[in-house]
C-alpha cells in the first residue's frame, strides 16, 4: 500500500499550541502539558502573547516568532482569531491545524457558519489540512500526542475516528479497561476539511491499525460515505456507531456538530450493506472491539456455557438464544465420555453446565475442556460466578480455580472463548469490598491472557453473534 497523504500530517516534527497557558483550567494548558507527559519527541512551541515561559518552556508571542518551520498547530483561541492565525501558518509551512476552537456552524448561527467556510477556503488556499473545528484532535500514543490526561501510554492496534471528543474520551477509558490499546484516535468534530471519508481511507490503509471504530453523527455526502465505508470494510473490520438516530438525537446532533443526521433505519441499512458492523452505544462498541481484537473468526453459533448454577444458568441459556446463539444439548460424544468415566450424573448434566449440581463429580473446567475438544461447539463462554452461596473462602477458591481453568483452556485450544465478569456499582463504603476486588482481579487475569471479557452474558452473546454474522458475510 502506498503511503497515505495524512501520514506526514500525523508525524509532525514540531507542534505549536496556540493559546498555550499555565492556567490548569485552560484547554491550552492541557494540550501543552500532554505533549510533555506523553513523551512527544519533536519540538514544542507554546504560543501566548502575554508569557515569556509556559510549563518551563520558552513561549512565543505568535507563530511568526518561532524560528524555522512548524508542522502541526493546536488552536485553542476563540473563533474570531482563527483567520489571522491561518495567515501566520503559511510562512511557517504548517501542514495541519487542529481547531479545538468551537462555536462555528454547530451554533446554528449564519455568521459563525460563514466564518467556518472562510476558514476552509483560506486553509485550502494555503495547502493546510484542518482537523475540526470543535473537536479534541489527536491521541497518538506512539508519537506522544494526546487529548486525554489519563489515556494509556502504550500503543495498540485499534484506530478510532470520532465526531465527538467527549465520546472518544469515554470510549478510550472504557475500552482500555478491557485491554484495548490504540494506534491513534482522531476526534474530528465538524469535519470541515478532514472528514469521515478521509479518515476511513486513512485507517484502512494504516499498517498500525487492525480494527477501525467510528462514531459519526452525520456524513456530508451519504453516497461517498457509503463507498468509503464499503472500501474500508473490505480491508479490515469497521465498527460504526451513528449518533442522532431519532428525532431528538438528530436535533441534538445538529446543534453539536452541525451534522445532517438521518433516521435510525437508514443508517443501520447503510452500515450493514457496506459490510461494516453497527454498534448502538459506546459500551457495545467496546464489546465489539474486544471481540475483534481477541477472538479468532467464529464459524458458527453453537455455544457451550459453564460457570454459574441454577437460575443464572437458565437465564444464560435464554439470553444466548435471544441473541441468536444455539445453546445445543450436550453432544453424544461428551455424554459417552462422562458415562465411561463413571460420573453418576452423566445423563443429568446439561448445557449450560449447572455449577450447582456437578460438585464432587466433575468440575466446570473439566466440562469446558471436553467442550473445547468437541467439534460440535463453535464457541465457548466461561462465566466468573461472583455468588457462590457458602462463604467467602469457598467463593474465592472457586473463582480462582475457574479463572485459572479458563486460562488453561484458552492456552490449550484454538476454540473461541469468551469470559464474563460482572461489573458492579458499589457505594463508596463498599468500594474496596473483597467481592469487587476479586472481580477486578479475575478480569485482569483473563484479559492478560487474551480472553475478551464482557460484563454480562447477554452482551457477550450479542457481540459473538455480530462476529459470526460478520465472518459469514465475509465468506
Amino acid at each position: 500500500m502506498s503511503k497515505h497523504a495524512l501520514e506526514e500530517v500525523l508525524h509532525p516534527q514540531s507542534v505549536a499550541v496556540v493559546g498555550a497557558s499555565d492556567n490548569p483550567n485552560a484547554s491550552g494548558y492541557f494540550f501543552t502539558r500532554h505533549l510533555i507527559d506523553y513523551g512527544y519527541r519533536g519540538k514544542i512551541y507554546p504560543i501566548n502573547p502575554g508569557r515569556p515561559e509556559i510549563l518551563g518552556m520558552k513561549a512565543y508571542p505568535s507563530l511568526k516568532e518561532i524560528p524555522g518551520s512548524v508542522d502541526y498547530v493546536i488552536c485553542c483561541i476563540p473563533a474570531s482569531g482563527v483567520l489571522d492565525l491561518l495567515k501566520d501558518c503559511s510562512p511557517k509551512r504548517v501542514k495541519c491545524v487542529h481547531l479545538f476552537t468551537g462555536r462555528f456552524s454547530e451554533t446554528g448561527r449564519q455568521d459563525a457558519a460563514e466564518l467556518e467556510q472562510e476558514i476552509l477556503k483560506q486553509a485550502r488556499k494555503a495547502g493546510i489540512r484542518l482537523i475540526g473545528p470543535n473537536c479534541m484532535g489527536l491521541y497518538y500514543p506512539r508519537e506522544g500526542i494526546s487529548f486525554g490526561y489519563d489515556f494509556p501510554k502504550e500503543s495498540g492496534t485499534v484506530g478510532v475516528a470520532s465526531q465527538s471528543g467527549g465520546g472518544a474520551t469515554y470510549l478510550v477509558h472504557l475500552a482500555s479497561l478491557r485491554g484495548i490499546r490504540f494506534s491513534k484516535v482522531i476526534s474530528y468534530g465538524n469535519a470541515l476539511d478532514l472528514n469521515e471519508c478521509d479518515l476511513l481511507d486513512y485507517f484502512s490503509r494504516d499498517p498500525e491499525t487492525e480494527i477501525i471504530l467510528m462514531y459519526i453523527e452525520g456524513a456530508k455526502d451519504g453516497r461517498k460515505f457509503l463507498d468509503a465505508l464499503r472500501q474500508a470494510a473490505s480491508i479490515k473490520p469497521v465498527i460504526v456507531m451513528k449518533g442522532g438516530r431519532g428525532d431528538a438525537g438528530t436535533r441534538a446532533a445538529v446543534s453539536h456538530t452541525a451534522a445532517l443526521a438521518s433516521s435510525t433505519k437508514m443508517w443501520a441499512t447503510l452500515i450493514d450493506q457496506a459490510g461494516a458492523v453497527s454498534a448502538q452505544d459506546f459500551e457495545e462498541m467496546a464489546d465489539l472491539a474486544v471481540s475483534f481484537c481477541f477472538l479468532p473468526p467464529i464459524k458458527g453459533n453453537r455455544v457451550g456455557i459453564v460457570g454459574v448454577g441454577g437460575g443464572p444458568s437458565v437465564l444464560a441459556a435464554d439470553q444466548c438464544e435471544e441473541e441468536g446463539l444455539d445453546v445445543i444439548p450436550v453432544p453424544a460424544g461428551i455424554r459417552e465420555e462422562l458415562k465411561s468415566k463413571g460420573i453418576p450424573i452423566w445423563d443429568w448434566i446439561g448445557n449450560p453446565v449447572d455449577a450447582s449440581i456437578i460438585g464432587g463429580f466433575i468440575t466446570g473446567i473439566e466440562m469446558l475442556e471436553m467442550m473445547a475438544r468437541n467439534e460440535n461447539f463453535d464457541l465457548l463462554i466461561g462465566i466468573i460466578n461472583e455468588d457462590a452461596p457458602f462463604g467467602k473462602e469457598s467463593l474465592l477458591s472457586r473463582l480462582r480455580t475457574d479463572a485459572r481453568g479458563y486460562i488453561k483452556v484458552k492456552k490449550g485450544s484454538s476454540k473461541p472463548l469468551l469470559g464474563v465478569v460482572g461489573e458492579k456499582g458499589p457505594g463508596i463504603k463498599d468500594h474496596n469490598h473483597w467481592r469487587w476486588r476479586m472481580l477486578s482481579e479475575a478480569r485482569t487475569r483473563l484479559i492478560d491472557t487474551g480472553i475478551p471479557v464482557y460484563p454480562t452474558i447477554g452482551r457477550a452473546a450479542r457481540a459473538a453473534r455480530k462476529l459470526i454474522d460478520y465472518y459469514q458475510r465475509q465468506e
Copy 2:
C-alpha cells in the same frame, strides 16, 4: 387484611438445623452460623448425631432429643434421610421444614421424583409446610434468618420469591448495592408444597412488603398462577422474571427445578395481562425495583436530560427515544426565561442540555431546576459525567457540583428524577483509581437522598418507560 397462614410459619420461636456442622465448607455450618450472625432471637438447635456441641451451642443427635417443641427445621441432610426426619417432626409440632436438600425431581430420575411425592404426602399428613426442596429458603432480616453470608442486616420493603437460590443471592447483592432493602426473600426451589401462588398471595397481603419481585422457572398450573398474579398485581407492584424462555433455557430449567416451562411469548403475554411488570434479567429486575421504590408515579413520557455533552448527549437522546420516551425540545417558557436572563446562547441550548456548550453561561443544574418547575416535563434524568476532558480537578469539582445539584433538585421538587452513574469494570491495578472511587461516592450520595441510580441512560430510560406503562394501565 386477615393474618396469612404463612405468617406463623415465618416467625418461628425456635429453629433446628438438621445436618448442622462445624465444618466451614458445609451448608449446615452456614445455616447455623447465619442464625447467630444475623441475630436470630429464638432458640437455635443444631442437630448432628456425631457432635456434642456446634458453634459453641449444645448439639442434639436428633430432633427427638430436643426438649419441647420446634417451629422451623432447616434440613441439610441427603434426600434419603428426609422421610425419617419428617417422622421426627410430627411429635415436635414442627410447622415448617425448609428442604435445602436437593437431588429430587430436578434430576429427571423416576425414583427421586417418587421420593419427592412421598415426602409431600407425609408432610401434608402431618400438617407440616415445606419450603423447597432444592432451595436456599428464607432471608428475613427482621427475624435474623438468612441464607446469605453478607446480606444487609437492615430490613426494607421489597419482598422476593425466587425459584432459584443462586438467582436470589445474586439479586440481593445487586439490588442492595443500589439502595434496596428487603422485607423477606424466599427461595422456594422445586415448589413441592409452598409454591408461586402461595407466595404471591402471601406477599401481596404482607404489610412489610410494598413491592414484590418474583423469579419463576415454571408454574405447576398456569391458570392458577395467572389468577394469583393478577390478584397480587391489583394490590401492589409485582415484577416478574421468567427463566427458561427458549428451548435451551427450558431444558436447563427442567433439570434445575423440574419446571414445565413454556415459550418466551406466552410468558410475556401472561405477565402483561396480569397487570404485572416483566423483567428480562436480574439487572433489569434491580432497575425496576429501584424505580418503584424511589420514584413517585410518572404521568407521561416527556423527559428532560442534563449532565453530559457532545456525542454522549446525542446518544442519550437516541436511547431515550428508542425506549419510547419523548425527548421534547426546550419549551417556549424556558427559552423565554433564558433570553430574559441575557444568556447569549438562549436559542442554541437544547434538550438534552449539552454540557460542552453551556459553560460560562449557565449550569446544567440551573437548567434542570427550570425543567423541574416546567409543566411540560414528566420526568428528568441527571447523568453523572465521568469524562470531563480537562483534568482531574475540574472533573471532581464538576462531578460534586452536579451530584449536589441533583440532590437539591430532588429535595426541592416532586418531579420524578432519575440518576445515571456508570458502573465500570476496572482491572485490579485500577481498582482504587480516583475515577471509580469518585463514581462510587456520587452513587452513594444520590442513593442516600432517594434518587434511583442506573448504570446507563438506556437502562434508566427503559425502566422509566415500564413505570409509565404500569401507571397508565393502573388508571
